[in-house]
Symmetry: D2
Subunit: 306 residues, 4 copies
Amino acid sequence: MAGWQKGKGWGWIWGDDDEIGALNAITPESVLNAMRLVRKGKIEDLGVGVDRRSFRWVGHAATEIMSYRTPLGERVAKDDVPGANEPRWHSTAIFTCDNVGTHLDGLAHITVGKGNETHWYNGHGEIEYGGDFGVLKAGADKFPPIVARGVLLDVAGFKGVESLPTSYGITIDDLRATMSWAAIQLRMGDVVLVRTGTGRYWGEAGANHAAIAGPDTAGITLESAHWLIEEHGPILIGSDTSTVEVVPYEESVHVYLLVEQGVPLGELHYLEKLAADRVYEFVYVATTNKIRGAAAGVAMRPFAMY
Amino acid sequence: MAGWQKGKGWGWIWGDDDEIGALNAITPESVLNAMRLVRKGKIEDLGVGVDRRSFRWVGHAATEIMSYRTPLGERVAKDDVPGANEPRWHSTAIFTCDNVGTHLDGLAHITVGKGNETHWYNGHGEIEYGGDFGVLKAGADKFPPIVARGVLLDVAGFKGVESLPTSYGITIDDLRATMSWAAIQLRMGDVVLVRTGTGRYWGEAGANHAAIAGPDTAGITLESAHWLIEEHGPILIGSDTSTVEVVPYEESVHVYLLVEQGVPLGELHYLEKLAADRVYEFVYVATTNKIRGAAAGVAMRPFAMY
Amino acid sequence: MAGWQKGKGWGWIWGDDDEIGALNAITPESVLNAMRLVRKGKIEDLGVGVDRRSFRWVGHAATEIMSYRTPLGERVAKDDVPGANEPRWHSTAIFTCDNVGTHLDGLAHITVGKGNETHWYNGHGEIEYGGDFGVLKAGADKFPPIVARGVLLDVAGFKGVESLPTSYGITIDDLRATMSWAAIQLRMGDVVLVRTGTGRYWGEAGANHAAIAGPDTAGITLESAHWLIEEHGPILIGSDTSTVEVVPYEESVHVYLLVEQGVPLGELHYLEKLAADRVYEFVYVATTNKIRGAAAGVAMRPFAMY
Amino acid sequence: MAGWQKGKGWGWIWGDDDEIGALNAITPESVLNAMRLVRKGKIEDLGVGVDRRSFRWVGHAATEIMSYRTPLGERVAKDDVPGANEPRWHSTAIFTCDNVGTHLDGLAHITVGKGNETHWYNGHGEIEYGGDFGVLKAGADKFPPIVARGVLLDVAGFKGVESLPTSYGITIDDLRATMSWAAIQLRMGDVVLVRTGTGRYWGEAGANHAAIAGPDTAGITLESAHWLIEEHGPILIGSDTSTVEVVPYEESVHVYLLVEQGVPLGELHYLEKLAADRVYEFVYVATTNKIRGAAAGVAMRPFAMY
């Protein structure tokens, strides 16, 4: 199987029909290697809670969860459930938008190219695969279960700050110094999670937009993304912000990672507990919902196991 | 920590505020034990694809996924994204209902009791915790990442049928014989998945309702549920049907498992590949979305690792 | 002001920016003329009830209405409303699709033209005005309040049948004979409603799809549409079916009316009561919702006044 | 038919099953009387535009309208429409909440009473008629087409201010003085619209929340509501604010009008044009959507005809 090349990264190497990019590098061997990192049996939930109030990019819809069936409603409707002592159901309906809460960006999330040349990862084109009901190629729903070595690069911890400043661009030197400080190395096939400290302001559901908005704009620069991919070969780069990359930017890390390299981004991961416990190496596990056509995950619960 | 008792099962043993029931039995020790089952590094996705057409109980809403931001729409709106070669976004909006596709039932999914006595697991009561925007106690969003030994009881395979007949009640003898046939034992803390063969009719998104509807009514009897819980102590019982238990029933396995025992049910799990490969023992991994108040999961992607 | 021409109809005569087509022909004078038809002060509701079960074209989403705020939910959430005797609110959330229930098709509902030439009424083009959040030109939300002389052409009544047969194409002769039978003339500026009898199967919410599906395919032919528009000059043509025109068809009445003539269609109008009372002439009143960008109305309540 | 009594108003006089309250007072005679007010044939749209950004009470959901079927999406899906020159469809999906934009409050919108005594207009009780999918009695979808004499009481105009101050309570004296200033009398059966001037800040879709929020809290006092109903007998009281009544309040006009008197409220009506043209008397026409169970209207387009 073709693979990563130092100095070049991944790219469109997985065949014309490929829809999952660097996640192809998850193999039985890589999974077994990752499993060796589970020494204590501990699990940390890396997802953030989501409700109507949750901080999000303004161009996405708020999440509404509504009680759909309730005991009172069923009594009123005389929808009787068989059994003694009057059993009744609860269920909920949900209106939401991908890209809300903790999530992975799918490889179709960003496109480049003008007019009919518009395309995303692997050349999948808008006029062939952009549909009304989500994308027909390389949706986030196509992601296999992700199990890989995870590495936390706690840049805020290294710098000794609560959170990085607004629009702080995390440089290659910052990443190198953080790795050295934490005595951690990267390996090909890793999931790299970069901590800015933004997660400490999330609380139960991200309601304090004012506190989150500033540090949420800190993130890696395009140069850092190149360096990570081309020197170290991660299959996923994540952070505790909604964008992973520094905002504003001139050229997008999203284009580089998603379109050119076929590497998903992981956004709004909760990294506070791992950082407090100085857990820098672990198994990263994440699964997306199987709603066909999604451009990204929504309100996910990735976790670290170590 | 209190725990399971033979002949009695779990029950309300985890404290007055508990919201996750038998999932409390997932401990670092149990996780480490489960990890020993990963010998090949193989992963099987146990989720089914979901779209508008997917088979579901008629009382739940259909799932709609709609392109929300598209390259064409952004061009029209002149929502320019910074960068060369005209970057543009895809995102989707989703309207769905929990209990759709592969999912876990949360401990608040079914209630018992009349009027103001209406309550679910651990006595959490409707007049205190039943809200307009989902449940305030014991929602499926409270489930921690689930990592445990998984066991497939391939009843359809044992019986040598494509799928069990309509409304077939899986008995204790069926389960015993299947275990013997597969040479597999249950242990306290397992996730038990019972295969009826219904999954073979799902296809890409469960569009063939007529084919699914019959075998989907096969499932365990209440006696079998008692026997599994009280003799073997699983923390989750799942199947490849939408109900797990045989339909119709007189008294519900849901009430017994969810309310009385605090044990989640796992529904519409895709078990065909595990069965074909005769993989009866594995690590089961599942995570629910973190949308606060959900009564159950939706379109999940649990997986088996072995 | 330019207007209708016999033998030619309306067309793109209202200026380059026009978004409402023939509805421009509603003027103070035409309104005053229509008002003279109100002799008894009677009002007939022409809308049909809509809920989750309602018959609709399979390519549209089902309508879900969900209790959003309830007295119980507010008590649980301690959202107290000021005042004595514990005031509490009810509100609902709605997920629906335009084109559901009684509705008017907006002038952007159908397009013609290939690729970048795709356009609708008045040349409004997809690459300029087709947006992610509805259409930016000629949405149904742009329709002014519609007040005009309405005429019922009760073809099923004239033929003495409960409802027209499946896929019955209503001819010019049928329309002429019905007008003669009812002793009613058409005038420029009318709203013409053609009755097939399908409405008698709707019941409270259109749940009996099997009964509705057959007669719902009866409707006017393209020739009849030409004749109506070019000889008589109506500003809106409606029916009691979901399509107005006979299905299947080779060339669409929708294209002719919406794109070429700028004349809205009115679908699923309830005409049973008017027919039973032999009310063939009345004031037709209809308003669309003001949600910006809608391609059609939804669950409307047009009415007849006479 | 029973009716209004001076000094007492309406009340629960329409029979035990009644669901529409004072709207029962719309009769053929009242309609004919109203029609006499149409002298010029002019129509004014009283609805405000709604989109995602629209001002609303914080406890309601934002409105999302999403392109559902588009020409590009249909091409991608190869959903071909019969006919020459490649016809294609536009349709939209909508997620919204009643009480958004211009709307009428239904008689079930507010309740009083504790626990199982919770009820709304006419004693319709929560434990009998409060459902999961909207209310089963007295929903706003039950409102007949409303056609009645409308009267504008332009309090802001009378006072010579752009808009009334924040939390200004409109008194009986204000209403009397405004009537005198405008030389207009009220009659039993009227729709009374009270102008605060808030509408001037709405713009195309109510995006400027800061400008709207202040004057939106001006409105009639409970005393004024009593005086209007008990001395003059209107069947609907509306305003250009989201609440009609002054906020904050101690006892709610909503309880008095909706529960006790069975009189709907009309909210966020656009009254600027009528005020500018000094049109104080007209026919008021409004229709609610026919989605069964709605607690209020949504994004309506009532209009004035004169």
